[in-house]
């Protein structure tokens, strides 16, 4: 399903490879956690599968396709087999829940009849059957992430990539999201989830691949995840953290017309975050 053969990724400006000689295989129907500190290569890993990036060396096969030989023209078609979920949801603020999910089908040219069947079905699957006409800002963080998951799987992809899907959510809400992902996995979709959340990893008891500075340092069939950072947080900050809302920090530097440079060394995850720093109005 997903096979990496000696894959390395070096960014143009980076002195250290983001991924170093990674070899692994993910079988159909597996649920895999990608864990590791920030900058360990989790995001590069997902970007490579999404074909946002090409490997510097080595071969990547996904769903029988050799991504090194996949022409740019064929990438859109290839991506229809993948669903993607992000930490920051990436919903369209002016569209209702229904339209956000339907958008993914409309841009693929699906018929309205099909959309009116498929969207309510998938919204039911993620537990939002009664919120079709809400706007994203009327929903809680957990509900917004459920919409994003619904959008990612409405086209029945073979693989679901999730980049820190619970990163902005409190533990109780995170558990709800994990239930949804587990159900999707149980229905046959391969799930690849990058996360920092030790509690979730330890609770799910699924395969864990740990990355450190671009190296795969651990690959266990039903593993756990411990970090020093986690220990510190548990000891010192857990009591206050539990009842506080996550704070989203808006970067202050404002680039009015950004050059989208996916090679930028600071790129986090599948970095389209520059898109969200901007205001939405006509600048004139």
């Amino acid at each position: 399903m997903i096979r990496f053969d000696g894959v390395s990724k070096v960014y143009r400006s980076g002195n250290r490879p983001a991924l170093h000689d990674a070899t692994l295989e993910v079988k159909p129907g597996e649920f895999v956690f990608l864990v590791g500190a920030s900058g360990s290569g989790k995001s590069s890993f997902l970007r490579l599968i999404l074909r946002e990036e090409r490997a510097s060396s080595g071969q990547i096969h996904v769903l029988g396709q050799d991504l090194g030989r996949l022409s740019n023209r064929k990438v859109p078609h290839y991506r229809r087999n993948l669903g993607v979920v992000f930490q920051d949801f990436r919903l369209l603020p002016t569209k209702t829940v229904f339209d956000n999910v339907a958008f993914a089908l409309r841009v693929l040219g699906k018929s309205e009849a099909f959309i009116h069947d498929a969207v309510p079905e998938v919204l039911g699957l993620v537990g939002l059957g009664n919120k079709e006409n809400r706007l994203p800002h009327e929903l809680s963080g957990g509900e917004q992430q459920r919409v994003a998951i619904a959008r990612a799987v409405v086209n029945k992809p073979a693989v679901l990539l999730a980049d820190e899907p619970t990163g902005n959510l409190d533990p109780a809400t995170s558990n709800g999201i994990m239930d949804v992902l587990r159900n999707i996995n149980a229905a046959g979709t391969t799930v690849l989830m990058a996360t920092h959340d030790t509690a979730i990893v330890n609770q799910m008891q699924k395969r864990v691949i740990e990355l450190s500075e671009g190296h795969i340092i651990r690959d266990e069939a039903s593993g756990s995840y411990q970090t020093k950072a986690h220990a510190i947080i548990t000891e010192d900050f857990e009591p206050t953290r539990a009842d506080s809302q996550p704070i989203l920090v808006e970067p202050l530097d404002f680039d009015p017309i950004p050059d989208f440079d996916p090679m930028a060394p600071s790129s986090e995850a599948i970095d389209l975050s520059y898109l969200d720093r901007m205001k939405d109005e006509d600048p004139l």
């Binding site: 074909r51 946002e52 023209r73 229809r80 087999n81 369209l92 841009v107 040219g109 989208f260 006509d282």
Partner: protein
């Protein structure tokens, strides 16, 4: 369904970017009006050329008793000299080039002159003997007047040989310069229009960046993503082109056929019916320009 989606996206883009769309329309209007004017000037030059060049003759002016130019020595060309010139025009070397020629004596020249300058004071000052006797030569190919110059220019009794086309060439080179200027201005304006369209499309893409990002992630095909933006540019430019067509029609009807025709009644000016050819040129140019620059602008956003 899918087409519907593309059209709605294009419409939304136009609506969200009204100020830029208006500037695209104006710049396209002005630049294409210059293009259209250049084409009109060329049409005018062509129509004048075909009108006048066919009528343009080579005049072989013979000596009068007042002329000092050429082979004349203040003596009227003699009958023998005239016969010699005519023999030369009839000779086998020249006949292939000459369509026809005729001789005009003093009296005929005077009649033509008074006809041509009727109402002018100069008529009273001229007497038949001042006007030279002339061989008027029509050439098969009007550009080959040099042959006549060579053949009869040096003969005795010939004052001068004049190709009437040389008078026209001055006018035509002036009109050509004007149309080149219009083309130059149009080229600059077209560059500005292309850049403005590209900027507008980038702004439009920018205001829809979330949608674009999601489209790319879920695997919408490139044409599906690009088409609304290209349509947006083409629609704006086409509105500009249509206005430019209107401006050209107004110029032809009111300025050329109204004002110029009234002040220069003897000259044949182009009519609106001759200038239809300009409209498809303007519409096509506007559409190609817009589609091209919009495509380039949006492609930046679609790099995988």
């Amino acid at each position: 369904m899918s087409l519907n989606f593309v059209l709605i996206e294009a419409w939304n883009g136009l609506r969200r970017n009204v100020s830029m769309v208006v500037s695209v329309i104006l710049v396209t209007l002005v630049s294409l009006t210059f293009v259209g004017s250049a084409v009109l000037l060329q049409l005018q030059v062509q129509s004048m050329k075909s009108f006048w060049y066919d009528k343009a003759q080579v005049a072989v002016y013979l000596c009068t008793e007042y002329s000092t130019l050429g082979q004349c020595d203040q003596a009227e060309a003699s009958a023998e000299q005239i016969a010699a010139v005519e023999a030369q025009l009839k000779s086998t070397t020249l006949t292939p080039y000459i369509d026809k020629y005729y001789f005009e004596n003093h009296d005929e020249a005077y009649t033509n002159f008074t006809e041509q300058f009727k109402g002018s004071g100069v008529v009273d000052l001229v007497t038949p003997d001042l006007l030279p006797q002339t061989f008027w030569v029509n050439l098969n190919d009007p550009t080959q007047s040099a042959i006549i110059f060579e053949a009869v220019g040096g003969m005795s009794g010939v004052e001068s040989v004049v190709d009437q086309r040389s008078y026209l060439d001055g006018i035509f080179s002036m009109l050509n310069a004007a149309s080149l200027t219009a083309v130059g201005v149009a080229a600059l304006m077209l560059i500005a229009a292309a850049l403005l369209i590209a900027t507008t499309i980038r702004l439009s893409a920018f205001s829809r960046r979330r949608e674009l990002a999601i489209m790319r992630l879920v695997g919408a095909s490139n044409w599906f993503i690009q088409t609304p933006f290209i349509l947006e540019g083409v629609v704006a430019a086409t509105v500009g082109s249509l206005l430019a067509c209107g401006a050209i029609a107004v110029i032809v009807v009111f300025f050329v056929d109204g004002f110029l025709q009234a002040s220069l009644p003897t000259t044949a000016f182009i009519q609106l019916s001759d200038s239809w050819i300009v409209f498809p040129i303007l519409l096509g140019l506007g559409a190609i320009l817009a589609a091209g620059s919009a495509y380039v602008a949006i492609s930046r956003y679609l790099r995988v």
